[in-house]
Symmetry: C2
Subunit: 152 residues, 2 copies
């Protein structure tokens, strides 16, 4: 089993080591605990962060093709297939052949999908609040701002 997530239980003496000064390590650790927490919340809806991400984009203003989802989420096209298979099986999204390029499929949410997304978004909000609880509101916004600059 994976060890206890957050407090290294008596290993606070390691917090001043070289490793804890490495952004790549801190980022990986923060992302890992954050994703775990989000997946735990989303399990109630039998979703994972990857499905949530695709569903969120599907429910947005833009109608995207699978190729575009793949590019934006930095996931292989074959992985998008698997995620959409699952979401479509559950009736949350539809694949529609693009009339302008019949090779492409545009992803659209169903009403049930929009409803699922609303619930999922609330659950992710809960886990985000938990994960960022050590930060003030200003710090949360600043963290998001900095991450956005790094991520794109």
């Amino acid at each position: 089993m994976t060890p206890s997530p957050d407090p290294p239980a008596g290993l606070e003496r390691l917090l001043g080591t070289d490793l804890t000064a490495e952004p790549v390590f801190l980022m990986a650790r923060a992302a890992s605990t954050g994703s775990s927490a989000a997946n735990k919340q989303l399990a109630e809806l039998d979703l994972k962060v990857r499905h949530y991400s695709v569903l969120a984009l599907a429910c947005g203003e833009e109608r995207l093709t699978q190729r575009e989802l793949s590019q934006f989420l930095v996931l292989d096209p074959s992985q998008i297939v698997a995620i959409l298979d699952e979401l479509e099986r559950r009736g949350a999204v539809e694949r529609r052949t693009d009339p302008r390029d019949r090779r492409s499929k545009v992803i659209a949410p169903t009403p049930a999908g929009r409803n699922l997304y609303a619930q999922a978004k609330a659950l992710v909000g809960v886990s985000t609040s938990e994960s960022l609880s050590p930060l003030s509101d200003e710090e949360r916004q600043e963290l998001s701002r900095l991450l956005r600059k790094v991520a794109f």
Copy 2:
């Protein structure tokens, strides 16, 4: 193959979507690109971030057991075994039975291991500079500070 890493190539119109406001998504994406960049640099030494992390802790002041490495890195004990097998095979670390508890093994770096770590640390520094290039020095420090609060 995994799509191009950073610029979503014409998908800037998605930067204002709900998803890009989710810290869990931003964090995962930043961590993913950061780890990829670091692994790419470390490939020159035939190392990955996970080996680098263990090596870094092994080269620190504290002498840690495998169990402690497992707890601090949030990796399963069996994964620590695999990482140490590799590092020991390369002569970078040694497993020493703890005289006070002969079940435990304390990990110690070899001179070659310290040398390897120095090289690896420099390479990670290069990738960190690249990954954080959109940020000013002040922003980098602030990001590290915030991540440290979230990660521990």
